[in-house]
Symmetry: C2
Subunit: 436 residues, 2 copies
């Protein structure tokens, strides 16, 4: 099954997940709850047979007969996509933990039938993610910065977006956005210019770039970064899918910057998700005479003011989220660093970072060029891998160079060659970017 | 003594206060403390003789022999100024209460010799205020909105200033600023265009308009609004006097809006005073690419962020300070409205507002035109007087028109013809704007 992100996931599970992604619209709380309780295999079979709770039946009635997950997986593979599922090592557990926590808070009211439907979409993890590109989703999502805003951006907005995106990408952040015209496109383009990684989260199938005018941009992103969608190949970018898509943008980033947004901009929906998830929301001010800055000013003024940070430069964003990856999920202070956590972080590394990690000296620091010689990679690749290692708390930077983080010096041996994914205790994770 | 704001202040006190304003630089805590303890007459005589505490001696040594308060009062009168002193009904007790509270907090450390000199000037009330113009300072200061910013303002900054100042002046706010080029001048001019009142707080003597290029603007302000300075006639606008002046701008307004300010702008000193006094600080955002907005963004981002309100429109300012006069010093809720407070508020009214107040019906509301007929004023004058009456909690607005506030209906008779200033239990205060 070449469309899988890892040989470690069984075909059965992949087919079941592909079916679940197809059979209901995204962000359906009863669906997620049902799959969580029954597991993907039982849940998929039950939906096929129609023997499911009313709400799940209602959500799946229209497509349960026609859904063809094998065809979806084949179409995905034809287009270079792979299906990342919770059972695979590439699943961004850390990034999606906040969505999971949010939906768990909602479940009681849903089960009691008293839940209010949220206009902007419920916070609920996806059932699977179609991705395309050479980047490991799990590793990228721990150092993501979302930059979003109006399609009808002004020259000012596009300029500021380019400055922020370029600066953050050059500092090792993966730029997450939605691939639309205006701010989104400026964010992706500047990240590409900086030779950084960028993640484009799409509202429709990845074989249907939207807007069509940005098809070339989508292709460029897929070449060095990552396209992501919870909708299967062929899915049209319906309006409501943009709203549910926005929660993924907010989830896959440690912080979201709204650069320009009119009063009713969709970017404010992403902002709402960002706050709901407890992530850092940032907004760029602009001229008060510009309607395209009105949404940003509303965020900075609103009830949520104490949680919306005014950012006017790359430095401001770094101040707000520069260490967020360390602080929230990837705590690098010794107290929070258990051997289990360290192992999990190592599992999240992509092949390049993993190779650099394996070459790190324990005590005497090594410079980038020395590291490059040790591990047999070009120095530029080593330099690009180091921010992820730093954010994961795996490397220590000294005046003389880099070495393993202090946590490893206290616990020997470091868990060098042991690799364990959540459900794959012994499999080695080559990562999608591994040399073949 | 025609330079007094009221016949009720004795010549002796006026001369003593004029001496105190001349003999030391403004914002001197030991001076204020000494005058507070000894009273102006004893304090002035002691300073003349040199028999004073060391710190007061040091502050007054240079000028105690040469100071000529009679000459200052004559020069002031020649230029149409009057000296407003704490003993006169025009003294803005309400507006300066926050400064007084602030300095009282500082006094122990000053007396212990452990006070740290504040770079931007200590919060301490003035010893007297030279003013010029037809407006009653005490009445104006309860509905003041300060608008300040860079001298080197951009077209954007001047445009936004004009919008805010015009809109606030048209809604009955007195626009307080510093008379400088750029934002200050734009604020004064727009208030004049709106036929509103504007207060220009000067760093030097009121006969020395600064900058000289704004002399015509100073004249226009004096014609319908108010020039204010704590420095006597002839005093040069030294640099440190701008810093101490800024605390008066912040004091005389219920809130301060910083429209444009570079990173080290003097407007940020006014902002600091505003926060120190517990007043509402507002800042207008602008393009992050404009150095002239950097100071505003720093205020909105800084440690004081929760207390700096982002404002992008007149409505935002009204939301922040529209009822501040009612809430802080002029509480209009019944519980806080004692007969004494009501009498004090009536004393603060200027002649026009006083006339409208006297014509207010107790029960059956009257429309503006009916009120105009009752009191024999043009309707437009009645309309302009009503905001001050409303802010003072003296008038109640209903669907059918205006009437005396509810507090008066509970306590009869309303203190109609009794007028009492702090030290003038029986004198009638004609107010500087009274018809002669």
């Amino acid at each position: 099954m070449s469309a899988s992100s890892s040989e470690s996931v069984s075909d059965e599970v992949l087919v079941a997940r592909a079916f679940l992604c197809r059979v209901a619209e995204p962000a359906c709380v009863p669906m997620w709850d049902f799959v969580r309780r029954e597991g993907p295999l039982v849940a998929a079979a039950a939906i096929r047979s129609g023997d499911v709770p009313d709400e799940v039946a209602a959500a799946t009635a229209a497509r349960r007969a026609s859904a063809d997950p094998e065809a979806d997986l084949e179409a995905g593979a034809r287009h270079g996509m792979r299906l990342v599922v919770p059972e695979s090592p590439e699943w961004p557990h850390f990034a999606l933990a906040a969505l999971e926590a949010a939906v768990l808070r909602l479940l009681p009211s849903y089960r009691a039938g008293s839940a209010q439907r949220r206009e902007g979409g419920d916070p609920v993890p996806p059932l699977g993610l179609w991705v395309k590109g050479p980047v490991n989703l799990a590793a990228a999502a721990v150092r993501g910065a979302a930059i979003v805003g109006s399609r009808a951006a002004t020259a000012y907005g596009e300029h500021v977006t380019a400055e922020l995106s370029y600066g953050l990408a050059a500092r090792g952040f993966d730029i997450v956005s939605g691939g639309a015209y205006g701010i989104d496109a400026a964010a992706h383009r500047a990240a590409l210019s900086a030779e950084g990684q960028t993640i484009l989260v799409s509202a429709g199938g990845l074989d249907r770039p939207y807007p069509p005018g940005n098809a070339a941009l989508h292709e460029r992103v897929a070449a060095t970064g990552l396209l992501v969608s919870e909708n299967p190949p062929g899915a049209a970018p319906h309006r409501h899918r943009f709203l549910t898509r926005n929660r993924l943008i907010a989830s896959l980033a440690t912080g979201t910057v709204v650069v320009e947004a009119a009063s009713r901009s969709g970017a404010l929906n992403t902002a709402r998700h960002c706050l709901l998830l407890g992530r850092t929301l940032m907004a760029v001010p602009g001229p008060v005479t510009s309607p395209m800055s009105a949404g940003c000013h509303a965020l900075l003024r609103g009830d949520t003011a104490e949680r919306t940070v005014l950012v006017a430069s790359v430095e401001h964003v770094l101040e707000a989220i520069g260490t967020a990856g360390e602080g929230i999920d990837m705590g690098s202070d010794d107290a929070a660093t258990t051997p289990d956590l360290l192992r999990q972080r190592i599992d999240l590394l992509d092949a390049r970072a993993r190779r650099v990690f394996d070459g790190l000296p324990v005590r005497k620091p090594a410079r980038e060029d020395e590291l490059a010689q040790r591990v047999g990679l070009p120095a530029v690749e080593v330099i690009r891998a180091l921010p992820a290692l730093r954010l994961a708390g795996l490397v220590e930077s000294t005046d003389e160079g880099f070495r393993l983080a202090a946590a490893f010096r206290k616990r020997s041996p470091p868990p060098r060659m042991r690799v364990a994914g959540p459900d794959t205790a012994t499999a080695v994770n080559p990562g999608p970017g591994a040399p073949t």
